[in-house]
Symmetry: C2
Subunit: 540 residues, 2 copies
């Protein structure tokens, strides 16, 4: 960033003290996805504690059948292909199966001995029908990039992995509607769309690994929900298989279709507990012709709020991301990457503001005027604007790199919460004060907690509170939970804004949903999955 | 429009033959809503045919209770207020009750003798619990502006009208979230938001009468879905009362909340068949600072498609409406209003293009460049751009006035369909050819069909096919149905894009939903409403 050009006339008029902002639009290319490094992915997962040990209150449901050699033979015949069945029942396939048993955060680990990879909805239907009759429990699994242990087994549930359903079925440039199999990787879908000047209306760190079926099943939010909205609005149709083998073909490509209950909505965000999504039809916006990203240093959270309101008002229809990072999150990225800060000084808060539009000149004029106002008014203390693709990627890494930087340090207690904007960062401050008072926080190895970090999607009022620990520690966990959930409940927030419930949050649902809602959810689960075989021990 | 200024330099370069386009941004104010004229509203509704006669296959469900004087006394005590009960059971209140029995199109008419107007969710709960126990059927009713007979009774169902639940509960300008009672009129909500520089993310002709609870219950689409998306994306929370009296408080104001099944989605578009929506929480965008509207004449539907793709590509994030009107629809408006056409010549197709943005100068530059390209390339034959509020309103009336112009002519068979864009207008041509061949279409009164008209929301691939008849005629109806539904089914379209099912479309659902989906919908209905008391004889 040291090559930043000098101030524009507009900024000069605003008498900004340090002339670091330079304005030049750059061409848009997608972010480089967070790659799950080999060290994380291939590490011996047997070191990870079993979920059944970490959650001793979870007991295997005695109504579920035990997988027999006959079952395995049946599945092998049914799916035909050699690569479609990983059999740890009649053979020793532990090493092949372990990656499907555990999650990338090394926090959840199941005991499955069977992984199935059906190739289409018909095969999924046959598998589920058989499992339902035999009462064999299953876990639908996409790219296995979830954060709440929702996509790995707890006991011996059969993993049904979607990776062999990976075809793009159609794309219509006139309407922008993409139809694709559930197992298509998000980045692959987006690259395909890029060739047709369109954009997948969802972007998130795990895009290089996650499957779009998993995105839909978890109602993923990500970096640009602010601009492109929720999947409940953009998903036009779904194909899903119900536990009894019924194939639900609701794969409409129509933007409007008011003919009956919109049942597909139930499968968006239900984490594979009432059915397995096998294909998705989704409305994709035209790819923006110009994208800009700015990175700010700010003196307080009050300044961050003011900057956000100014961005919303002034950047309006071209604002595509407004991300918050606290000072500690950025020092962690610096420590783990060794990179120099984008700004000269250090600040308690940083923001990343992205614009996406159809006219580079207009976008730059709006951005310039916005920068003039927030810097002129002293809302933003210092800032830098990416001037080329490399700088664009580099700035985004200061936001995107936080998760990985934390993962290098040991364990992380992750809380993904939604709180009214004015109180958003107060949670981090209160949590840090509490853990400090309790003697848990410190710089040397005698303290369990290394850092209390806050960052997230300011534009969606969505905070990621991360407590970085030297190792997972029950005392620390007890100090945070249920305190954190009570704190959120008091403010009518959500204990899981975008990560979902999985194993991690299921018992805390009552902090964000009232008894009536939980009762209605359980009723729905029993209607669709009376035997409870779909992703058990999770969700509600 | 005669004061239109001369061409901009850009347009001059494009050598447009007739210099009618003048470019000046105007301030945005909401459209004047379609007012339901007194003549339509207060006409003697006893002339309208009873729905039970028009649909002789509908029989009153013998399991339903008959309303007694005791029931009426119970409701009077329960609701307290004199104005909350219109009692045609123990008194002769026919005249007071008739407006709740019939729809504004004068097409549907029920036999109710009781109208209840509860004041809040608790009162709705008590009413529904009692009705459910007594098996008294009910019809939820908002502004009664629907087009498919969904909001009026068929037999003696009790009307539960939401007009007394009409308070705006809260608005947060930082997040843009509005919480309001179901009975707030759409235009009232939008005017309230205008005072806070925000916009209701839905706009439609009936805004002066329709209730936002009804909008949500019918998943209304309207004029700007293209820009602000579906209610499935913008509605953040709902309060609804289930048939057994359970109050479902899912009135979240959070943009993200992944804690369990998103049950509120089921109430969006379910036409009051599983519960009655009593309040809505909705995400509202900042009000645009500049709005422009242009009106084009085009030589063919192929030109219309090209103009739409050009608008999507070039106007991109500021495009807020792209409406299609055929030549016949515009001549009907001219005949009924006596107004002079906005353009000098006559064309087979017209489009209305609206932009909404945050910067008048930028929007105008984009619009100018768009106009230069579509007029320079000969896609648009002639056009005019509104230069002030009066002209803005006047141009919109050529689109908004079609429904009312048709209503002056006699009856209208209305089809609200979604079809892939390339075939959108073919339906009108095929329908007209069919009815002409069958000898139904002609200028003098011996022909039952006066006109076959097509218009609609091009941006959503949503066509309104209207067959204007001198009076409702079973022969004509039989010539159109089920032919029109088969035509749509072949193209995988929707037989009801935004109007819903109601009485009008219920028996045709199979043309847009497969058997599995219909079975799953019926299962859901029986879960929520086992006695079937909610809005019976309609929907599925």
């Amino acid at each position: 960033m040291s090559s930043a050009r000098n101030l524009t006339a507009a900024l000069r008029r605003a008498r900004v003290p340090r002339p670091r902002l330079a304005l030049r639009p750059i061409q848009f290319t997608p972010l480089t996805a967070r790659t799950f490094s080999a060290s994380t992915r291939n590490a011996d997962s047997r070191e990870i504690k079993f979920t059944s040990d970490a959650y001793p209150n979870l007991k295997r449901n005695p109504n579920f059948g035990e997988i027999s050699a006959d079952d395995v033979a049946h599945f092998k015949e049914l799916l035909g292909s050699q690569s479609a069945v990983i059999d740890g029942v009649t053979t020793d396939a532990t090493d092949d199966i372990e990656p499907f048993n555990s999650d990338w955060m090394r926090k959840y680990r199941g005991h499955t001995r069977l992984v199935l990879k059906p190739g289409n909805a018909q095969e999924v239907s046959k598998v589920l029908k058989y499992c339902n009759e035999r009462k064999l429990a299953v876990v639908p699994q996409g790219g296995n990039t979830g954060l709440v242990g929702g996509s790995v087994p707890v006991f011996d549930e059969i993993v049904i992995n979607t990776s062999r359903m990976n075809q793009i079925r159609s794309f219509d440039p006139a309407s922008g509607v993409l139809v694709a199999d559930a197992g298509v990787i998000l980045e692959v879908a987006d690259q395909y769309l890029a060739e047709h000047d369109h954009l997948f209306p969802l972007d998130l760190g795990a895009k290089g690994s996650c499957h779009i079926g998993g995105n839909v099943s978890t109602n993923a939010g990500g970096l640009r929900l602010l601009r492109y909205g929720s999947l409940h609005g953009s998903v036009l149709g779904l194909e899903a298989v119900l536990p009894d083998g019924t194939i639900m073909d609701a794969l409409s490509t129509l933007r409007k279709n008011n003919t009956g209950y919109d049942l597909k909505q139930l499968f968006i965000g239900s984490e594979g507990t009432i059915g397995l999504v096998t294909a998705v039809s989704i409305l994709c916006p035209p790819r923006p012709k110009a994208v800009n990203v700015a990175y700010f240093g700010l003196e307080s959270f009050d300044h961050v709020q003011k900057a956000f309101l100014a961005a919303k008002g002034q950047l309006s229809e071209i604002l595509s991301a407004f991300e918050l990072m606290d000072g500690r999150s950025q020092s962690l990225v610096r420590e783990s990457t060794g990179n120099k800060y984008p700004l000269e000084g250090e600040y308690p808060f940083y923001c990343l503001v992205e614009t996406s539009g159809s006219n580079a000149e207009h976008d730059m004029a709006k951005l310039e005027s916005f920068l003039e106002s927030v810097m002129g008014d002293g809302i933003v203390a210092d800032g830098v604007l990416a001037q080329d693709e490399t700088q664009f990627q580099a700035l985004w890494r200061w936001r995107e790199g936080i998760t990985e930087s934390l993962s290098h340090l040991g364990g992380t207690y992750k809380y993904d919460v939604s709180i009214p904007l004015s109180d958003l960062y107060l949670l981090v401050e209160d949590c840090k004060a509490r853990l400090t008072e309790m003697g848990f926080v410190g710089d040397d190895d005698s303290f369990p907690v290394r850092a209390v970090v806050g960052y997230g999607h300011m534009g969606d009022s969505n905070l990621h509170l991360n407590v970085s620990v030297r190792q997972y520690n029950k005392e620390v966990e007890k100090a945070i939970e249920p305190w954190v959930y009570e704190w959120i409940q008091k403010r009518k927030g959500s204990i899981s804004a975008e990560h979902g419930l999985g194993v991690a949050k299921r018992e805390f649902i009552g902090y964000s949903q009232n008894e009536t809602m939980v009762k209605l959810m359980k009723q729905l689960k029993s209607v669709y999955d009376p035997n409870g075989i779909m992703n058990p021990y999770k969700y509600i």
